[in-house]
């Protein structure tokens, strides 16, 4: 009896074992892959590890462009139980047109499309509303969105990105490989409630490298504000400004107008010109600013000196098939420095004739014209410099005064840097750091002699001095050199020069040790008020003043009387670069001791400031104490400079600052 039962029990156990073994074999060997896949699908989640695009900073660390994560909604129309209800819910939460959404979803379902974006970059509130619905057919994906917190600030330098966050202009495009991150992927082991337990990296995320530009945010803002105001004031078509460090080529500001907001995607019908960087993509005939090149070539290749007499033929010069006029009462024989200060076309042509075609062409190339500067921005124009073989009979004359050649604002800044830094051609650059690594400047190339550069600086100072064409560019406390330019715009349809102008100004300051080169260009100005001296030089004044203040550049000349008012400046300025007037003094604006003129004194206002210059610190303090004045001493040795200047009236609470040096 017992044995029989045991036999039954053994049989049952054996059968159960066999069934279990069969199941094990089936699970572990026959259907292993299938069940593993099913298990993984239940237990594992594949998650994307975001890799944000690198932030773009200005030189002081302020972010100019950065990416932040946002959410986007999508769904599989084939899994939506009721398209009508779904479209109603989604349109209500996401504020979409219900019928349009329904049409899209229906079309996608009919064409068996398993993926449909409902709305991208939704707000956090919309995200929360959708999550609260707990509908499994609504999927939310985290994406990254590029933001430009300054709006239009440095828009042309930064460029923009497309929907996939790929650069499509400016630095964003030029450094796309550096800025773009590589998203990672990981498998997340989850429990039954989809809580993560463990993570295995499939591919590591590589965040985009942040880059630091040479741009100074505040200066960029000032440059953009001023160029916009100047374009509006002069009814110009466009304008651009470049502020550059002449020694290492760092671009502190690059403004272009009209401009755009890179936060707003381009729309059909947008003005294409607004997205062009006029500072480097739109070449123009430079006009008289090019005389700097002509005179530099003359100093290097001929025996002409600043004081060498140049015959300006009374304002009229006959060339084969062409008559050149100075548009003002012509000059006779004047020193070469005056040719530059007064911007005489005929004088420049005479100088250019002495230089000769070959030398002229050679020096244009040396200054970097006719070639791209190599700045890290796309769509840079090389300008236009015709090959020597294609020059006509009057080409040398034209080129000498800045015609038959086209340049960009950036090229002019590069050329101005050669004069400012003592004869070295430096490459403009925008990239200061890549990640934490400083980006070295390209080695500079000597293109002219240092003494030539210094001589040119002195001659350029004459341009902003009384009698010159660029007096409105003078700065308080800083010596300035520059050159105005006003070129008529050539109309290719009528084949004639129009009465629209490219007004420009190239300036450097302080002249004794230039810290900045500023080039201002206004395209399509009208009338005499649109000439370089009248339209561009005041912009230089404002931008350079701000730049020197922001960059904390020490003043190189004492404070002077307040600059001439607009009225007096207008009366003393030439109405165009080629105007002629009585030759004013070409005295340098670096005042020597004792050059200060007496300030008008208001006897009722307060005590006069004594002259401390040449006195020791002890004597200065004793004298100040005797007169009851407060003196702030700076340095040691002998008093060299004082603010306010001697003789000026001291206002209540005002203190005297005296700088001592040995």
């Amino acid at each position: 009896m017992v044995e029989r039962r045991l036999k039954w029990l053994a049989a049952v156990v054996l059968l159960w074992g066999a069934a279990a073994f069969y199941k094990i074999v089936s699970l572990q060997f026959v259907h292993h892959a299938e069940f593993s896949r099913m298990a993984r699908a239940h237990q594992e989640l594949v998650i994307d590890i975001p890799a944000p695009r690198g932030t773009i900073f200005d030189r002081s660390g302020a972010p100019l462009a950065m990416s932040v994560p946002t959410e986007s909604v999508y769904l599989n129309p084939l899994r939506v139980p009721d398209l009508g209800v779904a479209s109603e819910i989604l349109s209500l939460v996401l504020k979409l047109d219900r019928m349009e959404l329904y049409g899209k979803m229906k079309l996608a379902a009919e064409t068996h499309r398993g993926f449909l974006w409902i709305k991208r970059r939704i707000s956090p509130e919309e995200t929360q509303s959708l999550r609260n619905l707990h509908l499994e057919w609504i999927a939310i994906q985290t994406e990254s969105q590029r933001h430009y917190p300054g709006g239009t600030l440095a828009a042309h330098v930064l460029g923009g990105v497309d929907f996939e966050e790929r650069g499509n202009g400016g630095i964003e495009k030029a450094l796309d490989d550096v800025l773009r991150g590589q998203p990672g992927r990981a498998r997340l082991l989850t429990d039954v409630k989809r809580r993560g337990i463990d993570q295995q990296l499939s591919s590591e995320a590589r965040a985009g490298t942040p880059v630091t530009l040479t741009i100074e945010e505040r200066l960029q803002f000032v440059a953009e504000r001023e160029i916009a105001a100047a374009v509006a004031k002069n009814q110009a078509a466009s304008g651009s400004i470049v502020v550059m460090n002449p020694y290492d080529g760092q671009i502190y500001a690059m403004a272009s107008y009209p401009t755009y907001d890179p936060n707003v995607p381009p729309q059909p019908g947008d003005d294409i010109a607004a997205r062009q960087n006029h500072a480097l993509s739109v070449p123009f005939e430079p006009g008289s600013v090019f005389k700097v090149i002509t005179l530099t070539a003359a100093l290097e290749t001929t025996n002409l000196r600043p004081e060498s007499p140049i015959d300006c033929h009374g304002g009229v010069l006959r060339l084969p098939g062409r008559v050149i006029h100075d548009s003002h009462a012509g000059m006779g024989v004047v020193p070469m420095a005056i040719v530059l200060a007064k911007s005489s076309n005929i004088g420049a042509i005479q100088v250019g004739m002495r230089v000769g075609q070959n030398n002229m062409y050679d020096y244009m190339r040396r200054f970097g014209f006719g070639a791209r500067t190599g700045i890290q921005l796309p769509a840079e124009s090389s300008g236009k410099q015709r090959k020597l073989a294609h020059w006509g009979k009057t080409s040398l004359a034209s080129v000498s005064m800045g015609q038959e050649v086209s340049v960009t604002t950036l090229q002019l800044a590069q050329a101005g840097s050669v004069i400012a830094n003592g004869g070295l051609l430096v490459k403009p650059r925008l990239l200061l750091k890549r990640g934490d690594q400083p980006v070295p400047a390209a080695p500079a190339v000597r293109v002219i002699k240092p003494e030539t550069a210094i001589t040119m600086r002195q001659m350029m100072e004459g341009v902003v001095m009384p009698g010159g064409t660029g007096t409105r560019a003078r700065l308080e406390g800083y010596s300035v050199g520059g050159k105005t330019g006003s070129a008529q715009i050539y109309d290719f349809f009528s084949r004639h020069y129009t009465h629209s102008y490219n007004g420009s100004f190239v300036g450097l300051a302080p002249l004794t040790n230039p810290a900045i080169v500023v080039v201002v260009t206004l395209n399509g100005t009208h009338g005499t008020a649109g000439f370089g001296g009248a339209a561009a030089a005041p912009v230089f004044h404002t931008v350079a003043t701000e730049a020197l203040r922001i960059l904390d550049v020490p003043r190189d000349i004492p404070e002077e009387d307040p600059p001439p008012t607009a009225k007096t400046a207008r009366s003393s300025d030439d109405v165009n670069d080629l105007a002629i007037a009585d030759l004013g003094s070409d005295q340098p604006n670096i005042l020597e001791e004792g050059d200060d003129e007496e300030q008008p004194v208001n006897a009722a206002a307060g005590p006069k400031v004594p002259n401390f210059r040449g006195m020791s610190m002890r004597a200065v303090l004793a004298e100040a104490a005797r007169q009851g004045l407060i003196v702030m001493a700076d340095g040691s040795g002998t008093a060299r400079m004082q603010i306010p200047p001697p003789g000026s009236v001291l206002h209540e609470g005002e203190r005297i600052r005296v700088r001592f040096a040995r």
Partner: protein, 162 residues
């Protein structure tokens, strides 16, 4: 009379097919008294409770068996403890995994928040906005002659305006 075991266990006679003597033999239908009830099954069985006192019976102590029992129990517990100890790292790993994933999620959220705050800060500090605010407050940039840079400046003092 029978005991419960005897009642439930079939007797050898019953097992061999013999009818137990449960009562008088069943008379023929013709001989039956129609006024008498038929006997019930097991009518002749009587139960009797017999008191049995087993208190004086005591199991004999077997130290060897007891020791073996304790050994087996101890071994089982030890094995269980070893197995439990062996599982502790796995359990801790799982718990730490939960914690790690929570921290990762939190870190990602904080990073996102930080980026959003940085963007907000940059937007608030944009030069355009600051200039607009300054204009509203009637503030102007000091002219160059109004600013004196202090060479031997105390901490934080860069320039003074007079």
């Amino acid at each position: 009379m029978a005991t419960m075991p005897a009642f439930w266990k079939r007797t050898p006679a019953h097992a061999s097919g013999q009818q137990p003597p449960t009562g008088p033999p069943d008379p023929l239908r013709a001989q039956r008294n129609p006024f008498l009830l038929r006997p019930l099954p097991q009518e002749g069985v009587y139960f009797h409770c017999k008191k049995i006192d087993n208190s004086r019976l005591v199991r004999e102590t077997d130290p060897h068996t007891r020791g073996a029992t304790w050994s087996v129990a101890g071994a089982c517990l030890s094995l269980l403890a070893v197995l439990a100890l062996a599982q502790i790292p796995n359990v801790l790993t799982t718990l730490e995994g939960y914690r790690l994933e929570n921290l990762r999620t939190e870190e990602r959220r904080y990073l996102d928040e930080r980026r959003a705050l940085e963007l907000q800060e940059a937007t608030l500090l944009s030069p355009e906005r600051l200039e607009k605010l300054a204009q509203e407050q009637n503030l102007v940039t000091p002219s160059s002659r109004q600013v004196i840079h202090l060479d031997s400046r105390p901490d934080g003092a860069v320039a003074m305006v007079h």
